[in-house]
């Protein structure tokens, strides 16, 4: 179910008394929240990269994070499963399943099994396709060969890669093309059956065809996973996501249903961005 939103030149919507910020309140309606943040602040040394990051994400929906380079959207995403821990100071709360996961008491490694992440550049391990998928599983549990085979098949099918690689599962993953490798990486993340999948510009390093394949994959995954995706590509955000958050200078400026943001943004800045006036 692809959104059919036409991106219009939006200057006509600008009115005198637009707000400086608009955050759609998910908690008001009948929405199941998968993960939410409160007072999230991320700083690299002295530099504050993100402030006032208060967002909630609905379960089994795709949310896009858009904004110019350096707007803080990637920083925000990477803070959600604490990938920034080693390089930055992250303050504030990240609520997941009723607990704040941004505390020392939380086992990050366990947490990341439930909140998976896929990066901009495909990064398959120097292992076979099969082992790429099973590796993280076997590190922490007992599986029979049959179970593993099944998991490999399902996750590759979910990532729409099964048909292309089913006969060469023993091949080195480094031999895959860019689009295939990225889908393998997604399959690898899915094999752990996470709740939430974070994607940091997953298709920006890919050619248009591979990019479209990845988008298809994400749409298919929606019924089982909560997906948060950072993208530079506004068409992509418009095509696949249910919600969109617009970041600017380390702040969330507008957060709303994708349909609304791209047709009738409430903040002038958002309007400027999506109509291509900056960024």
């Amino acid at each position: 179910m692809v959104n059919n939103i036409e991106l219009k030149p939006a200057s006509e919507f600008i009115t005198e008394n637009m707000p400086e910020r608009y955050i759609y309140d998910l908690s008001a309606g009948d929405h199941e929240i998968a993960i939410s943040t409160k007072d999230l602040q991320v700083s690299y040394g002295q530099n504050l990269a993100l402030s006032e990051g208060d967002l909630s994400f609905e379960r089994y929906k795709i949310t896009s994070l858009i904004g110019a380079s350096g707007s803080g959207k990637s920083t925000f995403l990477r803070s959600l499963n604490r990938m920034n821990d080693s390089v930055a100071t992250v303050k504030g709360n990240i609520m997941y399943r009723g607990v704040d996961i941004n505390t020392k008491a939380i086992d990050v490694y366990e947490m990341r099994r439930h909140i998976g992440m896929v990066f901009q550049r495909p990064n398959p391990f120097a292992k076979s396709i099969y082992n790429n998928i099973t590796f993280a599983l076997t590190q922490r549990g007992q599986y029979t060969k049959q179970e593993l085979d099944e998991i490999v098949e399902t996750s590759l099918k979910q990532a729409a890669l099964w048909d292309q690689v089913k006969d060469e599962l023993d091949k080195s993953a480094l031999a895959l093309s860019g689009g295939q490798a990225q889908r393998l990486v997604i399959a690898r993340a899915l094999a752990l059956k996470p709740d939430i999948l974070l994607l940091d510009e997953p298709s920006s390093a890919l050619d248009p065809i591979s990019s479209a394949q990845v988008e298809d994959t994400l749409l298919k995954l929606k019924d089982q996973y909560t997906i948060i995706i950072v993208t530079h590509n506004m068409q992509q955000a418009a095509r696949i996501s249910d919600y969109t958050a617009f970041f600017h200078m380390g702040k969330v400026i507008e957060y709303d249903l994708t349909r609304k943001i791209f047709t009738r943004p409430k903040v002038a800045l958002t309007n400027d961005y999506i109509s291509g006036n900056f960024g």
Binding site: R97, G98, I101, D107, V108, Y109, E110, Q139
Partner: protein
Amino acid sequence: MDNITQKLMQKSESTKKDSLGRAVSLAALSLIVIVVISIFAFVMSRGLSTFFHDGVHVKDFLFGSTWNPSVVNPQTKQPYIGALPMIFGSFLVTFLAAIVATPFAIGTSLFMTEIAQKRGTKIMQPIIELLVGIPSVVYGFIGLTVVVPFIRSVFGGSGFGILSGTIVLFVMVLPTITSMTVDTLKSVPRHYRESALAIGATRWQMIYKVVLRAATPGILTAIVFGMARAFGEALAVQMVIGNAALMPHNLTSPASTLTSILTMGIGNTVMGSLQNDVLWTLAMILLLMSLVFNLVVRAIGRRGEMK
């Protein structure tokens, strides 16, 4: 709390493994540090006992030019323990070897990185690695059978001396300096070269004005590392330098280095005697010099970063 939340609050196996792995690898690292510290402490305590236990003056040791620890000077009642000839000899061969080796190293590295990259890596890379691999005994053997007779027939004398030592060390430090210079040259960004060529510079102008300038700190580091290796080399130098604890008055008269006197004497002296202690003092100087070389490398690195 559901199952997953509970798991989140517990230490996972990964965390436990990680702590263990971290501890194990830190232990390995600490072991190395302990080894270094104990070698350091050991050599220092032995070397310093010359001054504290045997009552030798540091000045006499560093600047005296007569070395004969088993004989007591009738005037000062102190043995002859002037180490200046060896210190001077060590520095002289080291600097000469570095001076000779540097142009060769830079030329070879330029060949490998700028002129003929394909052939460079295919032919010169293995050659450089092989030169590193040749044992110093073999270098000494070649020095003794080829270099020394050659020097003798050209310059007269015995053939043993600073010049022979320099030639042998030159070949030994060449690969060290070259391979490190190659690394530095490779790290000079490509767009430096491209922009130089784009404004019409010839290849040599590009190399000389852009690449070498940018790589200067790295090349200096490489040279200092080469010198550190030359300074500490023992067997090969000992076989060709002649081992006379005399101030060298020309390049072809027998001379000595810290390492050569140290290796020769250590078996013939008795532990705890002054003759033995002074040899450990020589070892201490070697150790301190390798520390100095490292500090120099660091200083160069910092200045390079600031630029």
